[in-house]
Symmetry: C2
Subunit: 242 residues, 2 copies
């Protein structure tokens, strides 16, 4: 592929846009190749990470935030790049009130009810005041990059209580293989944009969940190959998601 930049037209609001693959990220390919500025053209809500695995990305209201491993949250400049992210132009296809959620598994069980077609992709946004949130972030890595199961050993875990904010997440079908994480993957950001991270656990009395189902999937594969390799996709995914 190399000829004129003729455009392929796809419906914007029915499309999940993904940068790279989870397989490539697990194998240690942390080289960013799509800028935050470009990413905002493809979606206004989503999750991801940054060049050199430098923190957790939360895209919300078309603004990209970085949760550093120090816990500090910063607004991201348009030139900063990502090696892995998933965003969509968010529509509220379904809205439900969730009550008395004791933990992350209970949240997943409730959201499962909104997944009517298990072949589609779903993006979720959950707004509320959360009794407890446990979240993590990872520090910037140096080359040669370690594989992700090694990198996450340096993660910082944050605990927040009675914090108002939004959980942003995606759900991918079982057939997704090493393209993305099968099932759920959530990030959190507080309403005042000062706290957040990759969500490890949550509890709350009441929150509003919005679901967006998409039947269009677009992926931009990384031009660089990872340093390492993935030996056991399932167990490595389990290791980095926790």
């Amino acid at each position: 592929a190399n000829s004129a930049d003729e455009a392929l037209s796809l419906k914007k609001n029915d499309t999940l846009y993904q940068v790279s693959t989870i397989n490539s990220l697990l194998a240690g390919n942390y080289d960013g190749f799509i800028s935050s500025g470009e990413l905002k053209n493809y979606g206004d809500v989503g999750i991801g990470t940054f060049n050199a695995l430098d923190g957790e990305m939360v895209m919300i209201d078309n603004t990209a935030y970085k949760v550093k491993s120090t816990g500090e949250v910063v607004k991201v400049s348009d030139t900063e790049t990502t090696p892995f992210a998933v965003v969509t132009h968010f529509d509220k296809d379904a809205t439900v009130e969730l009550t008395n959620i004791a933990n992350l598994d209970a949240l997943k069980a409730e959201l499962d009810k909104l997944i009517e077609n298990k072949n589609l992709f779903y993006v979720f946004r959950i707004d509320g005041t959360f009794k407890t949130i446990q979240a993590r972030s990872v520090p910037r890595q140096e080359k040669p990059y370690p594989v992700m199961t090694e990198a996450v050993k340096q993660q910082s875990v944050f605990s927040f209580t009675n914090v108002t904010g939004s959980i942003v997440g995606i759900w991918c079908p079982d057939y997704i293989g090493g393209v993305n994480v099968p099932g759920y993957h959530f990030h959190f950001i507080s309403e005042d944009r000062t706290q957040g991270g990759h969500l490890l656990d949550v509890s709350f009395d009441k929150a509003l969940a919005f679901a967006d189902s998409t039947d269009g999937f677009v992926m931009a594969v990384s031009p660089t190959e990872p340093e390492g390799s993935v030996k056991d996709l399932g167990s490595e995914l389990d290791a980095v998601e926790q």
Copy 2:
């Protein structure tokens, strides 16, 4: 996703466009949902099948052909739909002359040398006069649709000798999971467009191979769910590919 049909712009010539997933097809979802006319907007070269699993699709020079299970080849109308296809706007990123290919495995071994980045997708077109070609097609299925391992038991196998034509195929990365077939998948069509099918084996003295690498992947997920399910992706893929 449901709001205005605003367009997402992607580079046309760097994109592989896929209809549905191999997982859905294996599970018996043969309901076409993208028309051949629409498919031609997304690519001029590719492979696939038709509504009700009615034959093998070869897209070449932006024309879609159907190889029926009777062996007859027909040009497809723009209204005919597909439940699974992969097409691209083909660029000749690399051209090599292949000589003395004894069988399909030997062809794959030669094409492997053109796969410089195992994270990308590759589309191949191989033009030549082939000493032997073994190809198959499958008959139209009736609802309730059987899973694909059942449907292919009714396949017809064709043997051609000294036939001039084109092999069209794609290569998908290992991480692709149930999205598509990992590795190679080829279809054949004769130059006079009267013979073809899903390629089972081939031998030839000399042919010209063109490779197109793409880093953009677009998938349209089926709105319908399959009747059956996939128990063992790897072994079911092996069963239907032969």
